[in-house]
């Protein structure tokens, strides 16, 4: 059975790109979210194997969403997606419970390696 993933980013373009990369590796994209609040809600509904979370999103940012999810589901596997140079935020996200991070622009190989680490 394919592993499931929830993709959270406020930009359609980024969501499509990630979906493309992950589907190519055999993942099933079971849901998408555009805000932090939506991310938390969809996680509860879907309980996916993997979550990709953008840091900067309206209506609850990615880091707060991570905190909220980790609070209810400490086993959640979350991969943080960040723009270049957001060191402090990435560190905060890791401290909040994200398992690993990738930096935009995405390189498919790096994304998949990071996904492996998150799930492994």
């Amino acid at each position: 059975m394919a592993r499931t993933v929830l993709i959270c980013d406020d930009a359609l373009f980024m969501r499509s790109m990630l979906a493309d990369i992950l589907k190519g590796a055999g993942f099933e994209v079971v849901g998408e979210a555009q805000t932090g609040a939506e991310a938390v809600k969809r996680y509860t509904e879907l309980r996916p194997d993997l979550v990709t979370m953008d840091i900067v999103m309206p209506d609850m940012g990615g880091i707060d969403a991570v905190r909220a999810i980790m609070k209810e589901y400490p086993q959640a596997r979350i991969l943080m997606c960040s723009a270049m140079g957001q060191q402090a935020l990435v560190i905060e996200a890791i401290q909040a419970g994200a398992r690993d991070f990738v930096v935009k622009p995405f390189q498919p190989s790096r994304v998949l390696e990071a996904v492996q680490r998150v799930l492994g």
Binding site: M84, Q87, V90, I91, Q95, D100, F101, E113, G120
Partner: protein, 605 residues
């Protein structure tokens, strides 16, 4: 790219260019063409250090390069003040290099040395060299240079390791610093499973290399390579000095072992093999000795700077002339004479050379002149240090000695040169009216003398009031294997190095009376010293022989029970035990493998 491979090369090349930089900066004061060399040296140091990731060093090099470029372009004048500043910057650069190579590779978290650090700064340990107690191993992790957000990556690595046994800390402890370079260290105890830890780290992604070292190695300075004696077009090699030492020690032991081999009662074929062994060994010894010989230039190089700084501090005008600096000497000896030379030089500037006014009044050129020269004699090297100053005022010395209790108040008003020197080199004797910052504390000359004697050398002083003073040092060419007389005193064997021995004689018939105090040697009466008594060996001896030792114009006959023979010995220095008699300069293994104390004949005269 693994920079570790290039570290040795960086160390030797940077040292060479630092030396070049110092030399050309000093030369710049009188020779404008030295600017090109100085600029190139600074430029190269900047490039080398940047390539190694030593940003702090590269920055210092860049500053110097800029200044030198301005001088070259005619925008700045290289006056004494500017050269002073650049010399200090060169010192800082040198210290920064030492710190950089002692730390983890491409560590950017080191401070450039402060302007107050002394110019002879030895390798300074980086502040990060303290380990949590219990550390037995240090894991050096290097992230890939192109890894994004390295601090987050390092945090992930540490998080993955946090539940593993034996992981007790990291340096830096936290990774939220913007300047994190991507290199960090993890402290481990014996419980840690290195293989599992390495696998875990590598799995974390963006890791370039993982290495495990013992704490001492993780920050210990690397051994400084030494260039082999320069031959014009010959193949040259940079050699690790500690390896040369190991080889020399091994060969010395071989010769001792060879010396123990029986020479009689051997089968014919064995006897000829032993002979052949001796020949090959002898040649090998000569080869190794030659490798350890280094031109005295290496010890003389720092002297111009010493004179310059001392002269500035004393407000005097002095120039230093160096001659014969390609005479070669055993590296081990060379390393020891540096400080004595520096002290003698400072003395010469401080006390020897007079102020410009006094010199003018005496009809001398305003600029004082000190000459340091080296020349090779048959089996020794003579180093002369001569100044054209005012000479030593014997009357003042006598006066001082009397008031210090070193001479009786009714002592004669004239003394011999030897006696004068002995007084001056007495511990605690100081000629300065006030103690100056440089010298005059009275602790210098006695140390100079004992250092030189410990090497098996000798030092004399000749002075002419009004004209100047000359120190003459004679040093053995090599310490490695000295020739010594083996003598027996009260049943124990001792070695006496031949450097200060002129001959040995049998005592029969030369001694008048049972407990004579002198011996006749070719019409000359020489004071007799009973070694048995000097060594508190007790008992009445049957002294059959005497070893004639000499220094300067003084001689003494050291009476011993018997002369056992002549040997090559390797003298090893030692830390004397308190209360020990001051007559020994070291220990050695005799040919039959037994240890023996090495007597210093000069201590007895």
């Amino acid at each position: 790219m693994d920079l570790r491979r290039f570290l040795d090369l960086y160390v030797s090349e940077s040292q060479e260019h630092v030396r070049l930089l110092h030399r050309s900066l000093l030369a710049l004061e009188s020779d404008a063409t030295a600017i090109d060399e100085a600029f190139r040296a600074a430029h190269t140091l900047k490039g080398l250090s940047a390539a190694m990731g030593y940003r702090a060093v590269a920055d210092l090099g860049h500053v110097l390069e800029d200044t030198l470029a301005s001088i070259r372009g005619g925008r700045l004048k290289p006056d004494s003040a500017l050269i002073d500043v650049m010399l200090t910057q060169a010192d800082e650069l040198e210290a920064a290099i030492a710190v950089a190579v002692a730390g983890p590779l491409s560590s950017d978290n080191l401070e450039p040395a402060t302007p107050d650090s002394s110019s002879s700064a030895r390798v300074a340990m980086p502040t990060s060299s303290s380990y949590p107690p219990g550390t037995t191993n240090v894991c050096l992790v290097r992230l890939r240079p192109d890894a994004p957000i390295k601090s987050a990556r390092a945090m992930l690595i540490m998080r993955a390791l946090q539940d593993r046994p034996g992981v007790i800390g990291s340096e830096p402890a936290a990774f939220d610093d913007d300047d994190f370079s991507g290199d960090f260290r993890i402290f481990l105890t014996g419980e840690a499973d290195a293989a599992a830890i390495e696998a875990s780290i590598m799995r974390a992604g963006d890791v370039e290399s993982v290495d495990f070292v013992e704490p001492a190695r993780a920050t210990a300075p690397l051994p400084a390579p030494v260039t082999a004696a320069p031959a014009p077009a010959a193949r040259q090699m940079r050699v690790d000095a500690t390896r040369l030492d190991a080889i020399a020690d091994g060969i010395a032991e071989l010769s001792v072992l060879y010396g123990r081999m029986p020479t009689t009662g051997l089968a014919q074929n064995v006897a000829s093999m032993v002979d052949r062994l001796g020949v090959v060994l002898g040649l090998l010894q000569l080869d190794v000795l030659a490798l350890q010989m280094v031109p005295v230039r290496e010890a003389f190089e720092r002297l111009p700077r010493v004179v310059r700084d001392a002269a500035r501090q004393a407000g005097k005008d002095v120039e230093l002339v160096i001659e014969g600096d390609d005479v070669e000497l055993d590296r081990a000896i060379l390393e020891e004479i540096g400080e004595p030379l520096v002290h003698l030089l400072r003395n010469a500037v401080d006390h020897g050379i007079e102020s410009s006014e006094r010199r003018a009044a005496a009809g001398k050129p305003a600029r004082g002149r000190i000459r340091v020269s080296a020349e090779r004699e048959r089996s020794s090297v003579r180093i002369l240090l001569q100044d054209d100053g005012g000479g030593v005022n014997a009357a003042r010395v006598i006066e001082k000695a009397r008031s210090a209790g070193l001479l009786p108040h009714d002592s004669p008003d004239t003394i011999s040169a030897d006696e004068l020197f002995r007084l001056l080199s007495h511990a605690g004797f100081s000629m300065a009216a006030e103690v100056t910052a440089l010298s005059g504390r009275g602790v210098g000359m006695d140390v100079v003398v004992s250092r030189i004697r410990a090497l098996g050398g000798a030092i004399e002083m000749h002075t002419t009031p009004g004209s100047g003073t000359m120190f003459s040092m004679r040093l053995p060419i090599t310490l490695a294997l000295a020739q010594a007389l083996r003598v027996r005193i009260a049943g124990e064997d001792y070695a006496i190095p031949l450097t200060h021995v002129s001959e040995a004689v049998l005592l029969d018939g030369r001694v008048d009376g049972e407990r004579a105090d002198s011996v006749m040697l070719r019409d000359e009466k020489i004071p007799l010293v009973y070694m048995r008594h000097m060594l508190n060996a007790g008992g009445a001896g049957k002294e059959q022989a005497a070893v004639i030792a000499e220094i300067g114009d003084r001689r003494a006959a050291l009476a011993v029970d018997e002369l056992v023979g002549r040997e090559h010995i390797l003298v090893k220095g030692f830390d004397p035990v308190t209360g020990m008699l001051p007559f020994f300069s070291g220990v050695t293994l005799l040919a039959d493998g037994r240890p023996a104390l090495v007597l210093d004949p000069l201590s007895v005269i």
